[in-house]
């Protein structure tokens, strides 16, 4: 449920470093399940720069809306344009087709959780 090669935030985003200074960002299985059916993902412009923890967009489900916060400082290289037509990919494949932005990392990954620590956090939240 929480792949070991990803880094996680307390706000339920994930970050997947590619090893070349770039990374993909999305929301976790736990987050998509809590939101329910996703109907719209509001994403930033390519080129926009964000600090770690800064809001970079929103994800809207039928029943609620949630802010998207950048796990680490970075500049947006690409957004997942397919989500405009298929926002349900966030529910169906949160770590794959449901990715949201690709960023060039401009800071470190300090403060992010590994899969084990994130799983512990989620299990505390849901009990």
């Amino acid at each position: 449920m929480f792949p070991a090669d990803l880094k996680y935030t307390k706000d339920h985003e994930w970050l997947k470093p590619a090893g070349d200074g770039t990374a993909l960002v999305g929301i976790t299985q736990y987050a998509q399940d809590a939101l329910g059916d996703v109907v719209f993902v509001d994403l930033p412009e390519v080129g926009a720069a964000f600090a770690a923890g800064e809001e970079f967009g929103t994800v809207e489900s039928v029943k609620t809306v949630s802010e998207l916060n950048m796990p680490a400082a970075g500049e947006v290289l690409e957004v997942n344009a397919a989500l405009a037509e298929h926002p349900e990919a966030v529910n169906e494949d949160p770590y794959g087709k449901g990715w949201m932005v690709k960023v060039k990392l401009t800071g470190d990954l300090a403060g992010l959780l590994d899969a084990k620590a994130y799983e512990a956090l989620v299990s505390a939240e849901s009990h």
Partner: protein, 371 residues
């Protein structure tokens, strides 16, 4: 702090929901299913195209019986109770003296001198106290039957086809907003052709202990026809598309019956009732605000409950309920706006996360089923 699950009230179907892997939420102090694994959109669509089954056992039931019952219910509600035939139901409200809402409810006429009042779960205790407070002047008994009563709602175009094989009662002759008593799957029920989704359907009231076998029998009978268990999430989007009021949103103790667009339940000429004088006065003066339906113009602009309606940076109204509409495919909502702006085709602005976005006032209900 949210209430610990152990302190929430539970319907007789709590274990059944958990066995179906429902996502449970605190709904006004009740531990209720917001959705099952299929999700809100799939459940919404099941109700519009096939059928959905809801647990509504949290609703409150108050029975008023005796020679003074009719007079008491007439006094407490604005609709014309005397016009109800035995076996007929109507939508109405409990109002305060100023015409605002204690609650909205259904009145079932069980007999010449016997009525069943079905009220919202979250208001159930307040409503029972309200009825009791006014009852002493009338020759009747008032009993809170809520804990002893279970209720499920079968809603959607295939409801009749699903339910008929389970009962000897002929269902087709039961008109919309009529009811009868009978057995469903061998269980004694009040069978009511009513609902809160805008679709054809039946609400079944039974003894609390019979709720789970009744639920299981209907669910099993309906599965081959595409019946899905349906949660509170789609119950909200379904009722919103039909502009059906929800207490705490379109109606509450600060909004009166006429501005809520519920003039049709207010029979000012039926004789006195609580709230009549205030509503007579309200009717004589121009209404300062009105409930309208709107859609936002951009796909990304999704209004939500309680957001402000703004004009030139000032709040002039508020959204009561709003959501992306699964049936209509647009972002819908209901809002109170100043009467001079309440025209179909007119524009209003809604503040969504500090941004004023454009919305157009459109006709309601947003959805109406084909007859």
């Amino acid at each position: 702090m949210s209430t610990p699950v152990s302190d929430l009230m539970k319907t007789p179907l709590n274990a059944a929901h958990r066995a179906l892997n429902a996502k449970m939420v605190d709904f006004g102090g009740w531990d209720m299913p917001v959705q099952y694994p299929g999700g809100i959109i799939a459940e919404h669509e099941a109700v519009r195209t096939r059928a959905g089954l809801f647990d509504v056992s949290h609703m409150g039931e108050i029975r008023v019986k005796g020679p003074g019952a009719l007079a008491l219910v007439e006094h407490l509600t604005p609709n014309a109770v005397a016009n109800l035939a035995i076996g007929q139901v109507h939508y109405t409200a409990f109002l305060y003296e100023n015409g605002t809402f204690v609650d909205d409810l259904l009145v079932y006429r069980e007999g010449e001198h016997e009525f069943l009042l079905v009220v919202n779960a979250g208001n159930s205790d307040k409503d029972f106290a309200w009825v009791q407070q006014h009852a002493p002047a009338y020759d009747c008994t008032v009993v809170n039957e809520s804990p002893a009563t279970g209720q499920i709602a079968l809603q959607g175009p295939l409801s009749l086809s699903i339910l008929q094989p389970l009962t000897k009662t002929a269902l087709a002759p039961i008109g919309y907003y009529f009811f009868t008593h009978g057995e469903v799957a061998g269980i004694k029920c009040l069978i009511s052709r009513t609902g809160y989704t805008g679709e054809d359907g039946f609400e079944l009231y039974c003894a609390a202990g019979d709720t789970e076998p009744l639920w299981n029998a209907v669910l099993e009978a309906g599965r081959p026809l595409g019946l899905a268990p349906a949660g509170l999430g789609c119950r909200n989007t379904l009722r919103l598309e039909c502009k059906m009021a929800l207490y705490g949103h379109e109606i509450d103790d600060s909004i009166h019956a006429l501005e809520a667009g519920l003039g049709w339940i207010v029979k000012l000429d039926k004789g006195d009732f609580i709230g009549r004088a205030a509503l007579l006065a309200a009717k004589a003066a121009p209404a300062p605000r009105k409930l309208v339906g709107f859609k936002t113009l951009e796909k990304r602009d999704i209004a939500r409950d309680h957001m402000p309606v703004v004009q030139d940076g000032k709040q002039i109204g508020f959204v009561t309920s709003a959501a992306p509409s699964p049936t209509c495919g647009i972002n819908l909502g209901l809002a109170y706006v100043p009467t001079e702006l309440a025209k179909v085709g007119g524009r209003i602005q809604i503040e969504i996360r500090s941004r004023a976005v454009e919305a157009e006032i459109i006709p309601t209900p947003f959805y109406k089923r084909a007859k």
